[in-house]
Symmetry: C2
Subunit: 263 residues, 2 copies
């Protein structure tokens, strides 16, 4: 490890939502970002500007001198580009940031490798405060585990070592807690829009639902017609959804699932 | 209207989660709660103690002298008890608090009636801050509308007049934003528990998902495998859920719905 952890030079491969947020946070924490690669010039340049570095759209043009390569691509792009990513970097540590991908994806390709998974939802419009974001890290040696821990700890108080299997279960759980939850918001917003009602009125309820999860186990916190299986209300709601059969089917299935989980 | 709105004497019919939170809030705002009715002695006494009043478990023992009766019962109990509730109170204002029930439920039974619907999720363990809770009110005369508005305004800055149809659509939308969202949390918690992972690590993600809804339209904020229809991850997740076929079916249906809403 360097005398100062911030002296670790980092290259970002990918400039999507996660890479943008993570690179900016590391940059502001004092790390030097040596370079940014993205398939498209616009994304590469945008992120490079944010972290005062140079960029490339050519994987073969990526510097071979960095200490750490943080690869943040879609799972399929990662698989496809892996040989070009690892080429000529026998001593560097290479990590991906995907919840869903095993550490073994690197096996046989790289000498030093691992995973750095910040479990959060990222968008380019919102800057995420990493202080409370849990990081799940994995490496093949104690030295690399320590290095990744030290880097993540400059951003967050919540850094854990997790196996690929644990991380994949965390990722699946996060799909429910984030993507599916957000879709419930989207369906709610769609219904309100259809009836010319503002989505803003729903925000205090959304906030309280999230706050309650800090205090009461979600399973015990359940209220509403489904947990009582109040057929009169459920049937009325189903009839109100008759012009959107997909949403109607979702309403019915989720209501049944709520009721079955009660028992 | 009384010289001071807080001089309006209020009886609560029902002592469930909503009644408990609303009665306490009105009591702390300076209103006198004249009496509490509940079917069970324990609930009736518990709420009566909180708001320094007397209670009864006999509907015929409810005082006939109050100005306002706030009826907070399950929809079916409301229907069943309605004749006994209205009996002997020709001059009082009677309101229910249900999102799903039309104002017309009172028609032909009471002279002065309406609805006072605070759109929030209530539990007895958590005291809700009413300041941001939207209230939707409805009455048959301008005088009663003004009275309900004035009462709700002592608790919240967000008081709206809404028709029964609007309120029913708000309630249906709230089922998605609250009950169904909470079920996504519960399924996430269940998965984590099965793999001996703590639910606490999910809270920063849950909080950010809710916060993001304040700033980005949920439909545009969607991320994750479903919105890209990343079949490799989706199929892997489905196989990880193979021992809980109901949850597996939900995962598939919600993922398809996310993808279809993108188009």
């Amino acid at each position: 490890m360097k005398a100062h952890i911030e002296d670790t030079s980092i290259v970002f491969i990918g400039a999507g939502n996660l890479a943008t947020n993570l690179a900016s946070a590391l940059y502001h924490a004092g790390f030097g970002i040596a370079q940014v690669y993205s398939r498209t010039q616009e994304s590469a340049q945008l992120l490079a500007n944010k972290v005062s570095t140079k960029c490339t759209t050519d994987l073969h043009g990526v510097t071979k001198q960095a200490d750490l390569y943080i690869v943040s691509l879609t799972d399929s792009a990662l698989m496809q580009l892996l040989p070009a990513i690892v080429a000529g970097k026998p001593n560097a540590l290479l990590v991906h940031t995907a919840g869903s991908v095993s550490i073994d994806v690197w096996k046989g390709h790289a000498n030093r490798y691992g995973v750095l998974y910040p479990m959060q939802t990222f968008s380019k419009q919102r800057e995420v405060d990493f202080g409370k974001v849990p990081f799940f890290i994995e490496a093949t040696t104690e030295k690399d585990t320590t290095l990744l821990k030290a880097i993540a700890s400059t951003l967050s108080e919540h850094v854990y070592v997790a196996t690929s299997e644990q991380r994949q279960n965390l990722h699946l759980s996060a799909v429910f807690a984030n993507n599916f939850t957000n879709h419930m918001y989207a369906l709610s917003a769609e219904l309100l829009k259809k009836h010319h009602l503002p989505f803003d009125v729903m925000l205090p309820l959304i906030d309280e639902t999230a706050r309650k999860a800090h205090q009461v186990e979600p399973h015990s916190a359940q209220t509403g017609p489904a947990v009582r299986y109040d057929e009169e209300i459920i049937n009325k709601h189903l009839s109100m959804l008759c012009d959107t059969p997909d949403t109607q089917q979702l309403y019915e299935l989720i209501s049944k699932s709520i009721f079955h989980h009660k028992q």
